[in-house]
């Protein structure tokens, strides 16, 4: 691994700096000569605190959304009667769980004659996992339904 380049080393030192400079414009000075002035240097004094807080607010909002998604957000997922209870763990990788005894002992709803689709409450992360397989869609009732069975979907958009 190469060492940190010279032009980045200052970034890793605890050197006090100024608030961001995003743009500057040419303004005539008293001598008539154009000098560069920074919009940001004015904001450093006037609105610097607010500008400094903006990214922290955005980060906090992101963390709040992440926590909400993981802890609180629940969705109803309709599992069709002919779908397997467990989907494979990858699209192209072999399903190593396919031949496990537990899997064989767990009949699908179709095998048990249970033709009614199941409605389960899942987390948003479960829906993310399902969507990566192209396996969820809205059904006629407007509910989120898993379309994934034992095989990868033939109409996988990727």
């Amino acid at each position: 691994m190469g060492s940190i380049p010279i032009h980045l080393r200052h970034f890793f030192r605890n050197r006090p700096g100024r608030y961001p400079v995003m743009a500057h414009k040419d303004t005539p000075s008293s001598s008539g000569r154009k000098e560069k002035s920074s919009m940001e240097s004015h904001q450093t004094r006037q609105g610097g605190r607010l500008k400094r807080a903006a990214p922290l607010v955005v980060i906090a909002a992101g963390i709040a959304l992440l926590i909400f998604a993981v802890v609180f957000h629940r969705l109803e997922l309709v599992i069709p009667a002919d779908a397997a209870l467990e989907a494979p763990q990858g699209v192209f990788l072999p399903d190593v769980h396919r031949d496990l005894p537990e899997r064989l002992e767990t009949p699908s709803p179709a095998e048990t004659g249970d033709a009614e689709p199941k409605v389960v409450i899942v987390t948003e992360n479960d829906i993310i996992r399902e969507s990566t397989r192209g396996g969820v869609a809205l059904n006629e009732d407007g509910a989120v339904q898993r379309t994934w069975t034992d095989e990868p979907p033939e109409a996988c958009p990727t």
Binding site: H7, R18, A23, I128, A137, V144
Partner: protein, 260 residues
């Protein structure tokens, strides 16, 4: 090899862990298709598009984008994105390069609003303009390995992507030889989001006007053809930090955690 190249290579180890989709319930912050056999996380754009199709707000994906965007902005594009790294590697081929006009960056928002949000929401994932059906990232990272692995396995029916997708892949890859990061500059919806945070991220590019001698060296150093001395936090900037090699140190990396 450059420091940034080492960092990009190291990040490949994060985004390409062969875990068999065990972490597909988490969005990664980079554009990496989950159809890739080595993908570690779910693609945030794919998740947003799929959630739009089922009319559910993607709290996790949006939260991830806000968190990462607010923290580092487009640094993630320049230093961590695997598809950006792929384009960087192809940009090293010595071919004539053209710089794209600034207005072309707006097409990224058209892709984000149109193909990622509106089309899935109103027409579902079956529409031919659904982002995953045309995305060259999926074509390269997911489609090529699928075809190759099927060919190696001796399957008769190879899982070829659609002709449209193949055409887009060929076009985008060809464009990589003639302009810098064409996908990022023209179409990347994730890049549009992250570069929009350039002005509001905790880490940013700092410009010291007093140190600037107007030598325009940063114009020549910027691979995207931007003008960092005029607009250090340009919404097209991917934060490669080439311009911070400024001979007078007028451009540097700053953060809100350091007091003025």
């Amino acid at each position: 090899m450059r420091f940034r190249t080492w960092v990009q290579t190291a990040f490949l180890g994060v985004w390409m862990l062969p875990m068999g989709g065990a972490l597909f319930n988490i969005c990664g912050p980079v554009y990496h298709c989950y159809a890739c056999p080595l993908a570690t996380f779910a693609c945030p754009i794919g998740v947003i598009a799929n959630f739009s199709a089922i009319h559910v707000f993607p709290f996790f994906a949006v939260g991830m984008l806000l968190f990462v965007g607010g923290a580092v902005g487009a640094f993630i594009c320049g230093w961590a994105c695997p598809f950006g790294f792929f384009q960087d590697l192809l940009s090293k081929v010595p071919t004539p390069r053209w710089r794209l006009p600034a207005w072309t960056a707006h097409t990224r928002w058209a892709v984000l609003l149109g193909m990622v949000i509106f089309v899935p929401y109103f027409f579902g994932v079956a529409h031919p303009l659904f982002i995953c059906r045309l995305c060259p990232v999926g074509g390269i990272e997911g489609g090529v390995p699928a075809v190759v692995s099927a060919a190696i396995a001796g399957e008769e029916a190879l899982p070829w992507p659609s002709p449209w997708k193949i055409g887009i892949v060929v076009l985008v890859v060809s464009a990589m030889f003639f302009t810098y990061r064409p996908w990022c500059m023209l179409f990347c919806p994730l890049g549009a989001i992250f570069t929009a945070f350039n002005r509001f991220s905790a880490f940013f590019l700092r410009f010291e006007p007093k140190a600037c001698t107007s030598c325009t060296a940063c114009h020549k150093m910027c691979p995207a053809g931007l003008t960092p001395d005029k607009r250090a936090n340009d919404p097209r900037c991917i934060r490669c930090l080439e311009c911070t090699k400024c001979p007078t140190s007028a451009l540097s990396v700053g953060s809100v955690f350091r007091k003025a």
